[in-house]
Symmetry: none
Subunit: 411 residues, 2 copies
């Protein structure tokens, strides 16, 4: 039998719990999802623990697991994926962070972690820091990503370099001193470098004319940077070589694009695919079908379900599930019918919790010869599907098997 192509669609934070605000339904149960319903009739269902029962995944660790890489082995912080996702180059010993512009007082006490959130000046402030931020003996590079956010890379920090966040993650506390996370000399040196960067950036930003203007306008100064997720890129096995698959990723979300780049998955830019609730569903589906012409494996990421969960907004999450359903329908229209089409999530973001949870996520696998479960695609139906329970690390093997692409172990 011919090898099949694989589409893996991950809806970020899709999983949920019954919510009193949705008549004790989950957003998946409450939403109108005609396309998923149709797909589900001929699909096997199951639940996936993205990492393990009782482990709440980040999007980064979960995606590593869903691509078959144990995050306990390969994960060294989100920074490197954010930097790659922002199209920065990253060498093996480069130490990368996610960064925020923030507002602090004279004692480095954080008044606003996002400098008022409205920060159209962010690209200019990034350019300014790139020009003026000089730390003895190291090269530092920043790149603006979205809103008040940027990626920051310290070049040639050393492969062992691993340091703590300076971001206290709450307001009303001082910027944290950066500390080494292991005993290597690189980590000790980098902790000192990061602390110098924090101090120097504050000095430079505090007196910047744009901040003077913001102050005059009664807005929060963007007078500090907060860094988190600092790490170097581990040596990651590429998806194409590991699974003998040509592979593409359709996503507008920086960290996901960065993970895919790190795993040698091609990441074409698609106009209109924005990684938020305004993403152009038809453009995204067209990009998937186009990628499927050339590639064996197409990964698609849908972000907006997660954001609605973080916003604790059940109605918005229902709407975003319905948008996901449109994406599924548009993709179905372009398929030939002999593909393996999987829909799942990287973690749950329950609307009543507003954070990621460790709940298992629903999985649907459609292919010409699966054992069909015949129900709707919901968390509860998935709990009783033919697939049973998998761990994230098992998913690629299960999909490759359904695509008739697994090599035999033994004879």
């Amino acid at each position: 039998m011919a090898k099949r192509k694989i589409i893996m669609l991950v809806s970020d934070g899709l999983g949920d719990r019954p919510s009193a605000r949705l008549e004790h339904k989950t957003p998946l149960q409450a939403a109108s999802t005609p396309n998923l319903d149709e797909l589900s009739v001929s699909s096997s269902l199951g639940l996936v623990y993205p990492i393990a029962p009782g482990v709440t995944p980040g999007s980064d660790t979960s995606h590593l697991a869903l691509f078959g890489l144990d995050p306990y082995i390969y994960y060294r912080g989100r920074g490197p994926f954010e930097a790659l996702g922002a199209d920065m180059d990253l060498g093996p010993g480069d130490l990368a962070f996610r960064g925020n512009f923030a507002t602090v007082d004279d004692n480095f006490m954080v008044l606003d972690r996002r400098a008022g959130r409205e920060l159209p000046e962010a690209p200019d402030l990034v350019s300014y820091l790139n020009e003026r931020l000089k730390i003895q003996g190291v090269r530092v590079a920043l790149r603006h990503t979205t809103e008040h956010r940027f990626a920051l890379v310290i070049r040639e920090a050393g492969r062992e370099a691993e340091v703590t966040d300076t971001d206290p993650h709450v307001t009303g506390e001082r910027i944290l001193p950066c500390k080494p996370k292991n005993a290597s000399p690189e980590s000790a040196r980098m902790a000192a470098v990061v602390n110098s960067i924090t101090a120097e950036a504050h000095t430079l930003l505090e007196s910047h004319p744009l901040n003077e203007k913001r102050k005059k306008d009664g807005r929060q100064k963007a007078n500090a940077i907060l860094l988190r997720g600092g790490g170097t890129l581990s040596e990651l096995p590429g998806v194409p070589v590991r699974y003998s698959l040509s592979a593409a990723c359709i996503s507008g979300t920086a960290v996901i694009r960065g993970i895919c780049k790190a795993l040698q998955i091609e990441t074409p830019r698609v106009a209109g695919v924005t990684g938020d609730s305004k993403t152009d569903i038809k453009a995204k589906a067209r990009a998937v079908i186009r990628a499927l012409d050339e590639k064996d494996f197409v990964f698609v990421h849908f972000k907006a379900t997660d954001a609605a969960g973080h916003d604790k907004n059940p109605e918005l999450k229902v709407t975003m599930v319905e948008k996901l359903d449109q994406l599924v329908g548009e993709i179905m229209n372009g398929l030939k019918g002999n593909e393996v089409f999987a829909v799942t999530a990287d973690h749950s973001t329950p609307v009543d919790l507003g954070e990621h949870s460790a709940d298992p996520v629903p999985l649907l696998i459609s292919a010409p010869d699966v054992f069909a479960d015949g129900g709707r695609f919901t968390e509860s139906a998935a709990a009783f599907g033919h697939i049973g329970r998998l761990r994230g690390l098992d998913l690629m093997g299960v999909l490759l098997n359904q695509a008739n692409r697994v090599e035999k172990f033994g004879e």
Copy 2:
């Protein structure tokens, strides 16, 4: 409660997927299986990943796992099991292969991997090679098994010896040069020895009178040997000691008999038990019941379901499932009713795929005090049975527990 006896019946390649050629049923679903149906009514059902989700097992690696031995630790190639199954003795440093007689041209290009498949001369050619094949400094022994097949052993190769196949596994390619699979001097030496054997065997066979006659008759010459699965026997824990069980195996299939021998399971020869579709079901069942008089654990292997899957023949697989059902019925007739009787498979061989797959396999456990599922014994029913999902490595423990034979861990 008294300890029970255990029968483990493995139907090779039994698992399957819904096939359009069987009205979207699997062979197990499509077959008439009155005995399995009757047994199933008082049985617990479940699914087994013989090795792990997404891993396609060979019969050899799977059987190791089903007997509780991790193939990632203990498996070193199929050759040693084939040699043991052919009743050859095997010392700890002996390097064993499976071999085929094949037809090659003057450039060692493989024209037919099975020398026309009809090869009644094979035993004579094996004797001839045993007499005449002389390689400086090593002892080589062959034994004929079935049709065009034999086992070949290089004595005292060294425990570390591990080399690649010379069999290209397809026609139209040259015999592969044998290469070492690890950095040990034994492997390097053995790769050279195997290449000498290949060359010398070709010279000897090319001019053999039987081949001259085959040529005159317009049949393919058996003028080369192809070797695969080369390895030494790892130190395997015996089933009887490991589980405090006396044990016997009823099987006509060389590799299975070899694995059982390697695990210290007795392997009586039973007249009529042939390891193919013609096997005498009644003789096999009688042998099982007889063995059960003396042994705590009787392993039974039924081969023909796998062959039908490899042949991509759904009707034949249905017929072989019905033959399996007869075997189950004959065994049931001989039981006292207080045994643990398990029926499962070593892997799936879907009829539409024609190869092993990584799909989980159905498991049935009958015993006086199981939670009965009450359905038929099918892949789909097994997905919703009381047993849930197991891995192959868990099976022996689960059966021993049902037989009231598991010792406590802790107090």
